[in-house]
């Protein structure tokens, strides 16, 4: 007893008032994770439950901490790019991209036109791949096994494309300082065009299969409602913020790279009853967050189609000196990752190695709202809320 943290045993928490002579009940403390099927990695949620009711949930993190930022302060930027793959491993291209942009901005490197298109293609493809995993595993959290396999079937095409491009299927190390590590392989654009034609109707199919499923809507609509004010106050970004009805997407609002050249919409959560949204839906609930991802995949397909039309020939990487000197000064740059705003702070001091590297992981900030939302919800709702916030623990713990 003595060697256990008093916070875990609940001794520091106020005991529920029990009148003498009545049946003695007490709250049950349950560890959800770090090994649990629906915590999506090694998140540990300490649940204080009253029967099936979760009174409060406290996330405990740090099980996947690998000193990513400290490593960044000991290696050159080019060497750190593979490490960024390991942050949000489901959208590694977006991480490569964000860090490369920050370093390029610090060093003033001009990226060739073709490289910019390659970057947008890779980032949007990886956004689709990441949202597919999110969609599939959300179905799994809700007890629907089959969408998961379908999602991975489609993701396989994207991963095959990545494999053809850079040889890796998960951690790519492809987008790097000054552009991309290699040119697109022969036939890539044709394969991409085929995939887009194949994939776009599938999104509607999955909407019919899962999104509008009566049980699925019952499980997720109105569960874990986050108001727009709360979402902003807790620093939520990405689909979680847009699910709460805030039309904020860095690709459109603070355009970086070449996103100002493309036409696309920013899907947000809308109240139920409009269009084909089920009537039970409330803005900012789990269903909205989930559905924003489904709509974003469509927008990504739109962007990719425009890329296919516009991509020029040319260099795939700028001339970057072998030993890149980082000038004194600091740069903080945010990009719209698959899970939200992914920020990189790079401080240079005229040497080849950054003095400071700081990462703003969107999952980390998104996760912070869990104790606020998981209050007096059912046990099954915790899985619904956690799945809809879609955290990747590699990014939370870094």
């Amino acid at each position: 007893m003595t060697d256990i943290d008093p916070q875990i045993t609940g001794e520091t928490m106020p005991a529920p008032g029990v009148a003498p002579g009545t049946l003695h009940t007490e709250d049950l403390l349950v560890n959800m994770g770090p090994q649990h099927p629906s915590t999506h990695g090694v998140l540990r949620l300490l649940l204080r439950t009253d029967g099936e009711l979760v009174v409060e949930a406290t996330p405990h993190i740090g099980y996947l901490h690998r000193c990513a930022e400290k490593i960044g302060e000991n290696v050159t930027p080019v060497q750190f790019v593979p490490m960024t793959d390991r942050l949000d491993y489901l959208a590694a291209m977006n991480n490569n991209h964000g860090y490369s942009l920050a370093v390029e901005k610090l060093c003033g490197i001009e990226v060739p036109e073709r490289a910019r298109y390659i970057r947008v293609i890779m980032c949007e493809l990886n956004r689709i791949a990441s949202h597919l995993v999110s969609f599939g595993s959300y179905g799994l959290d809700m007890g629907a096994f089959t969408p998961f396999l379908y999602a991975f079937r489609e993701r396989e095409y994207i991963v095959d494309l990545f494999e053809a491009t850079c040889g890796a299927r998960l951690t790519y190390n492809y987008l790097t300082i000054g552009g991309a590590a290699a040119d697109l392989p022969a036939g890539f654009l044709d394969r991409l065009a085929w995939f887009l034609d194949y994939f776009e109707p599938k999104i509607d199919e999955y909407n019919r299969l899962l999104s509008y499923n009566y049980i699925f809507v019952k499980r997720t609509a109105g569960v874990g409602v986050i108001s727009a004010a709360d979402a902003i106050a807790y620093g939520l970004t990405g689909p979680c913020l847009r699910g709460s009805g805030v039309r904020w997407d860095l690709r459109r609002c603070v355009p970086y790279e070449i996103y100002d050249r493309f036409e696309f919409d920013i899907p947000i959560g809308v109240p139920g009853g409009t269009d084909d949204i089920p009537p039970e839906v409330v803005v900012g609930d789990s269903w909205s967050r989930y559905y924003v991802r489904m709509l974003e995949m469509k927008q990504s397909v739109r962007i990719l189609r425009q890329c296919l039309r516009q991509i020029p020939d040319g260099e795939y990487r700028a001339k970057v000196p072998r030993v890149l000197k980082l000038p004194a000064g600091e740069v903080y740059l945010e990009v719209e990752g698959a899970r939200g705003q992914l920020g990189f702070l790079v401080v240079g001091d005229n040497g080849p190695i950054p003095r400071r590297v700081k990462v703003r992981g969107p999952s980390f900030c998104n996760l912070s709202i869990i104790p606020h939302v998981c209050r007096r919800v059912l046990l099954a709702d915790v899985a619904a809320i956690l799945g809809s916030i879609d955290v990747v623990m590699g990014e939370v713990d870094r």
Binding site: M1, S38, G51, G143, A144, R153, Y157, V382, A383
Partner: protein, 441 residues
């Protein structure tokens, strides 16, 4: 509290009586055989005893074989629904021996007891879950002749044994000393006890029609072809059939009511801590109950062991030469039909499981108490009134019979057409990736 949260390491194995578990088991087995045969050698009732032993062995063999087949089948069905291939290696053809291999693996796995587990109850729970699932097959008729014990209260016997399964789950959850297991057990208890009530009310409707609890008698009522199946007699019986099927889904812990083992919420529910053969017993029990539920639905509502052809047509074949009798069994009525129908309902359960998300606990309770229970009661009342007011040979009864038969026929044709469509387009539907990546492709 602290005990529950203590690290899960300390596991004791191979101590005390466990070291001699297998020899003790062998000795008990031999002793029981000796006990069974010694009086049989002396008794005049020897044929009866042989008959009973044969029946029990047959039931155990059927349940084991069915469970092994169903596990393999479920994996294949799931795989096909998910555009995968499922087991393809063990045994050669479509991995038919996968369940055998799994069974062997489970049999030799370590039997793990958690340090804080209530050992006697923990052991007992697996048997309490398994034995009733096995026993109910004693009263389950496969045809008028193929039944171990034709009880006059067969239906109640089977219902009681189906209900006993919850005790094993509760014990397992309690004795595991795991909070997730307790959650699973509690969910199982409240879900199963709630759904027993609409289940019972749904069953009263065919009982009211048949006027008996003897399952063979209920089955033989439905021998005049497809329209004579009980579900198609009038709308209330059709509703009762649907209610019964949904309620059995809940009481067999099948999706979308699989909350007690909801792996995304409760890890594995009540059997989280079980390993090896003890875990396999829970699995066997579940599949045995699935088949029992499906077979019960077939017996009570869907023509039991009779084919859609009227038995009248094959009356002379029944007492003809052996080949005619065999053909009669295939074409008109026999255990094959009941097993086939049972398998069909098991298939529907699998189909639902791999398609639908899981319902939340409060929604399960809402669906039971607010929807199914009133519906089942009203349905029973309406059926009673119908039976009282509408004579069986009146025009109204015949019209109702015709409409219900048409609904049933259309449903069956639709299902068959869907299956045929899927079979015909199976290459296209699974996607090119699966076809390209097939072993040997």
């Amino acid at each position: 509290m602290a005990a529950c949260l203590s690290p899960v390491g300390a596991v004791r194995v191979g101590t005390g009586v466990q070291k001699f578990a297998f020899p003790i088991f062998l000795i008990l087995l031999l002793a029981s055989i000796a006990l069974a045969w010694a009086p049989a050698l002396l008794w005049p009732n020897k044929p009866l005893l042989v008959r009973d032993v044969l029946a029990v062995v047959g039931v155990v063999a059927f349940v084991s074989l069915f469970a092994m087949f169903a596990i393999w089948w479920e994996r294949k069905v799931a795989a096909r629904i998910q555009s995968r291939l499922g087991p393809m290696r063990v045994g050669g053809w479509h991995g038919w021996a996968q369940s055998l291999a799994d069974g062997l693996k489970l049999f030799q796995k370590e039997d793990i007891f958690l340090a804080g587990a209530d050992r006697p109850l923990y052991r007992l729970a697996a048997y309490i879950a398994f034995v009733p699932a096995l026993c109910l097959f004693l009263a389950l008729p496969f045809s008028t002749a193929w039944i171990a014990r034709d009880l006059d209260v067969g239906l109640i016997f089977i219902l009681a044994l189906l209900g006993l399964g919850v005790l094993g789950v509760l014990l397992a959850g309690w004795a595991s000393n795991n909070k997730w297991s307790i959650y699973g057990a509690m969910r199982e208890a409240c879900q199963m006890i709630s759904y027993e009530i609409p289940l019972g009310f749904a069953l009263l409707v065919p009982i009211l029609t048949a006027g008996t609890l003897r399952l063979t008698a209920i089955g033989d009522l439905q021998d005049a072809g497809f329209p004579s199946w009980l579900a198609f007699h009038n709308p209330f019986l059709l509703i009762a059939a649907v209610l019964f099927f949904v309620a059995t889904l809940a009481s067999c812990k099948r999706a979308p009511f699989d909350l007690p083992e909801a792996e995304s919420e409760l890890v594995a529910g009540y059997h989280t801590e079980y390993s090896g053969f003890r875990w396999a017993l829970f699995f066997f029990a579940e599949y045995a109950e699935m088949f029992a539920a499906g077979a019960l639905a077939a017996i009570l509502f869907f023509g039991a062991w009779h084919s859609p052809l009227p038995a009248e047509w094959g009356r002379t074949w029944r007492s003809g030469p052996l080949w005619q009798q065999a053909l009669h069994g295939v074409l008109f009525s026999g255990p094959l039909w009941l097993i086939g129908k049972g398998l069909f309902f098991v298939y529907v359960q699998m189909w639902l499981r791999w398609t639908l998300p899981r319902i939340r606990l409060d929604q399960v309770m809402y669906a039971c108490v607010q929807v199914m229970l009133p519906l089942a009661m009203l349905n029973l009342l309406a059926h009673a009134v119908w039976q009282w007011l509408v004579p069986a040979d009146s025009l109204l009864a015949q019209i109702a019979n015709g409409v219900c038969t048409a609904i049933g026929a259309v449903t069956i044709v639709a299902i068959l057409a869907t299956i045929a469509y899927g079979l015909f387009h199976r290459r296209r539907l699974v996607g090119t990736l699966v076809v390209d990546h097939r072993p040997g492709a």
